[in-house]
């Protein structure tokens, strides 16, 4: 597999959220607005990149039997770093993402990539894989966030749409809207995927 393929496979073909349906909790919970979605996506991308790189470096040192706890410690370290950085530099984002920043630790995408890719491949490949998967996750969050913000509050990135009056369809910002929007987006992605084959 070429370097470019490793980077781009996470974007669409093996998109972690829309195709593999991993990491569903943050993709439903923090996509009430585009800003939150992008913030969460980039935070996860950073963790994925760093943890993949470090785990790939340590792969020959970690005994096979305790690899999962070892991976979790590496991931938790980077999550704590991200958590403190966001609290320090973007307190508004920390406020709106809340508990979901520390919960990146249990995001199945991160542990999944560590186990499936970083523990078997070279350092640079693992870095690219983490970057690609993270950006794929960000794209998926961006799509869901855009739909929910447009329908739910009639705005995009916090700016009201022209010609729109009123508040939008509230249910799309609330919990049910998240499930329904994600359901339809996955259905659409599946449709295009089938059409391609």
């Amino acid at each position: 597999m070429s370097k470019l393929q490793i980077l781009t496979k996470g974007l669409i073909k093996e998109n972690p959220t829309l195709i593999l349906v991993l990491g569903t909790c943050p993709s439903l919970a923090v996509t009430t607005s585009v800003q939150n979605a992008i913030g969460m996506g980039l935070a996860t991308t950073f963790v994925l990149m760093m943890s993949n790189t470090i785990i790939s470096m340590l792969k020959s040192l970690i005994p096979d039997k305790v690899r999962i706890p070892a991976f979790i410690v590496v991931i938790a370290t980077f999550v704590s770093i991200v958590d403190l950085l966001i609290q320090g530099f973007v307190p508004a984002l920390a406020e709106s993402l809340g508990i979901f920043i520390p919960l990146i630790v249990v995001n199945c995408i991160v542990l999944g990539r560590a186990e499936a890719f970083a523990s078997k491949n070279s350092v640079f490949d693992s870095f690219l894989d983490g970057l690609g998967m993270g950006l794929g996750f960000t794209i998926a969050l961006f799509l869901i966030g855009t739909c929910r913000e447009l329908l739910g509050s009639g705005s995009f990135w916090g700016y009201k749409l022209p010609f729109v009056t009123g508040d939008g369809i509230l249910v799309f910002v609330l919990a049910p809207g998240a499930f329904i929007v994600m359901g339809f987006i996955i259905a659409i992605v599946k449709h295009f995927q089938k059409a391609k084959h």
């Binding site: 349906v21 991993l22 569903t24 909790c25 943050p26 439903l28 919970a29 999962i68 706890p69 979790i72 410690v73 938790a76 370290t77 999550v79 704590s80 958590d83 403190l84 508990i99 520390p102 919960l103 630790v105 249990v106 995001n107 199945c108 542990l111 249910v171 609330l174 919990a175 049910p176 809207g177 998240a178 499930f179 329904i180 994600m182 359901g183 339809f184 996955i186 259905a187 659409i188 599946k190 449709h191 089938k194």
Partner: protein, 191 residues
């Protein structure tokens, strides 16, 4: 009275899955049959209660006095992972039948964000005592079990229905969950 309000609040109003979006992976993954959903619910109830009890003790008597709150995420996830392993070993010895019933679900729980989520949530509530935290965990876990069992029932029915081709599988499950969440919104003003 305060406790009753908290239990109703956690189970119905702020349901951990349908309102707080924690533990969606097992909610979608192990909800194809009512029996497995019940097993998962029981395992989560067991682990979440224990984990929250231990983590809130650690938070109150170790992390806060030593000013180590920044280690919270690492400490909690390790405690939960160790606890799940320990519960597995103890159950295997003491009650093989329960171990058989919960067996496959226990390792899955380490990466269930609901457990870590509740453990972190209770530390953010300033006036929570350890008893409050444990009760919060128990009622959240009951809410988890309730939601996953109802959802499994719905999915069993869904198998008998003709679903449009593109919607089969995950999409229809998510939309069903959305409608279920809408039903739970009806409890909004209960407490």
């Amino acid at each position: 009275m305060e406790y009753i309000v908290m239990i109703i609040g956690c189970v119905l109003v702020n349901n951990i899955i349908l309102a707080q979006f924690l533990g969606i992976c097992p909610f979608l993954g192990v909800s194809t049959k009512v029996n497995t959903a019940l097993g998962m619910g029981a395992a989560v109830l067991f682990v979440m209660t224990l984990a929250t009890l231990v983590t809130s003790v650690i938070q109150q008597y170790v992390l806060v006095p030593l000013n180590l709150q920044f280690l919270q995420t690492i400490a909690f996830i390790l405690i939960i992972a160790a606890l799940v392993q320990m519960v597995e070993i103890i159950l295997k010895k003491i009650s093989p039948s329960l171990y058989q019933a919960l067996g496959i679900f226990l390792p899955l729980i380490t990466t269930n964000c609901a457990v870590l989520g509740v453990a972190i949530t209770v530390t953010q509530k300033a006036d929570f005592t350890i008893l409050d935290s444990t009760l919060y965990a128990v009622s959240s876990a009951i809410g988890f079990a309730l939601a996953i069992v109802i959802f499994a029932g719905l999915r069993e029915q869904l198998e008998l229905v003709k679903v449009p081709k593109g919607m089969q599988g995950v999409p229809i499950a998510l939309i069903t969950a959305g409608i279920l969440a809408m039903a739970f919104m009806g409890f909004a003003n209960l407490v």
